[in-house]
Symmetry: C2
Subunit: 302 residues, 2 copies
């Protein structure tokens, strides 16, 4: 691998090339940053290499060659391994570097990462995103940022390359807590959208025509705009996997139990999403929720 680039813009290490991470990394390259990437499946890095990224052969090599490392991986256990493992990012990034975890993960893990980073003279930022695949592709994500001022300032130029709304919410973990607040909104909107479409269909209405009415009124939402047409068409292509959303809901409910909060809407969402996962839709998009409600109603969809 080439030496780390000195002078000019910092070198950004990027780990995570999924539905969200792929287009986000591309925006970082297009913004002019020197980018190194790594993936367990080498074929995942090919399109980014073509776009100008260098490819490292391990997480440790990537970290050693970077000024800032951004991660957007699946589960909190993946975050823990990639950032806190012996061959992980924090053990191998040089002092003064910054880690930016974009994964939706646990607030408590974000605080542990910040503490471990601090011990090695590194900055840490938790910066989960919202806005879906479309937002990632257009570079218009909402980024919810937690971390101390210096680390956030170091991360901001990179975040700008794929984020439109970037708000510093507080210390380590505050980004994850804000993302949890966001996912609570999404969970409620998804239940509401699916119940509404099921009701409209059972009442003999044309769901697409109903959308013309309800998407302009007090019931409108980003979820409705983005996913109701796919739901009506029974198109379960994932913009966001049900199994990832279940992870988010689990994090929220664990936090709620810890602080004694009643979140019956989130509990309902978790029950319904588990039910649609059991129907074999863990890797479908979140709109497949309607299949759980249809099943409980003894109906098929559409």
């Amino acid at each position: 691998m080439a030496e780390r680039q000195h002078g000019g813009s910092p070198t950004v290490g990027w780990i995570g090339l999924g539905i969200m991470g792929g287009p986000m990394c591309r925006h970082v390259i297009n913004a002019g940053f020197d980018v190194i990437t790594y993936a367990r499946r080498p074929e995942a890095t090919a399109p980014l290499a073509e776009a100008g990224a260098r490819v490292a052969s391990s997480v440790a090599e990537l970290a050693a060659g970077s000024d800032l490392v951004a991660t957007i991986v699946g589960m909190p256990s993946d975050v823990e391994q990639v950032l806190l493992g012996d061959d992980g990012v924090i053990a191998n990034l040089r002092p003064g570097g910054t880690v930016v975890d974009l994964t939706t993960s646990e607030p408590a893990l974000a605080r542990r990462i910040a503490a471990a980073a601090g011990e090695r003279g590194l900055g840490a930022v938790d910066a989960p995103v919202s806005g879906g695949q479309g937002g990632a592709e257009r570079g218009t994500l909402s980024i919810m940022v937690g971390g101390d001022e210096a680390a956030v300032a170091a991360a901001e130029p990179v975040l700008r390359s794929f984020g439109e709304t970037i708000v510093h919410q507080g210390g380590p973990g505050a980004g994850q807590h804000t993302k949890a607040a966001n996912q609570i909104l999404v969970a409620g909107a998804m239940i509401a959208m699916c119940e509404s479409l099921l009701y409209a269909s059972a009442a003999g209405l044309d769901p697409t025509r109903v959308l013309e009415s309800v998407s302009r009124g007090a019931g409108s939402s980003a979820a409705l705009t983005a996913l109701a047409p796919k739901t009506i068409a029974a198109d379960w292509t994932p913009g966001f996997y049900i199994e990832h959303f279940l992870k988010d809901l689990g994090i929220i409910l664990a936090e709620a139990r810890r602080s004694g909060l009643a979140l019956p809407g989130v509990e309902l969402a978790e029950r319904l999403y588990r039910s649609v996962q059991r129907l074999g839709h863990g890797r479908s998009g979140t709109q497949a929720l309607i299949l759980a409600l249809a099943e409980e109603s003894g109906r098929s969809w559409p």
Copy 2:
């Protein structure tokens, strides 16, 4: 009362001058229609009389002097009495006239009204609205229309004076069914908004700053934009009464039982809204829902 105006635009009888009906009636006057109004409390008609409406001394007198009668009253029982009663609109409107019920009411009642109107040679339209007090004041409501083509065509010029999105959804009752689909969306959005704000606050975040993040992402909704700032400020001023929303949820759940539909989100909303009504908030705005969740969590709000 003056004679019914002949030639030119039709005379519109207007019954219902509440939070929504008052500003909607004013738009009809401003659009140039000859308007007659009536209210049980005469003082309610004074501002409309000042704006140019004539005032009838009874529903029967209003109906006898009108070409089209629009109603927007509280409960289905009020609709039934005003439209179907012996001294009501349908018994007193001359053949060829049209009744337009803008109240959110029962689909089955809308079908009964259409049948009774048909027997007397009248047209009937169910046309509930969405968009809240703000939409009523700006004249930008979404109007969900049910009824046969001729009746809908007769109603449309009047609806245009306060509606921006007017969609004919089907025969009698289809407007009410569409409004039910709309209220299912609102119910889910309200639970989600309140749970999200409660979570954010319990996590030590600044809810107003959290709104900056989440109102641009996948969790954004009209309910969040309109009501989260009031909820944060513990301002329970009604844009829409909890007791009216409970009526809507009851209509939806009755329809769902009839057709065997599982709507667990709507059931949850009804349980929570009953709980906040028991706290004395029946005449507060729907955002006071957060008080039910705070109580279940053993917390105060804010």
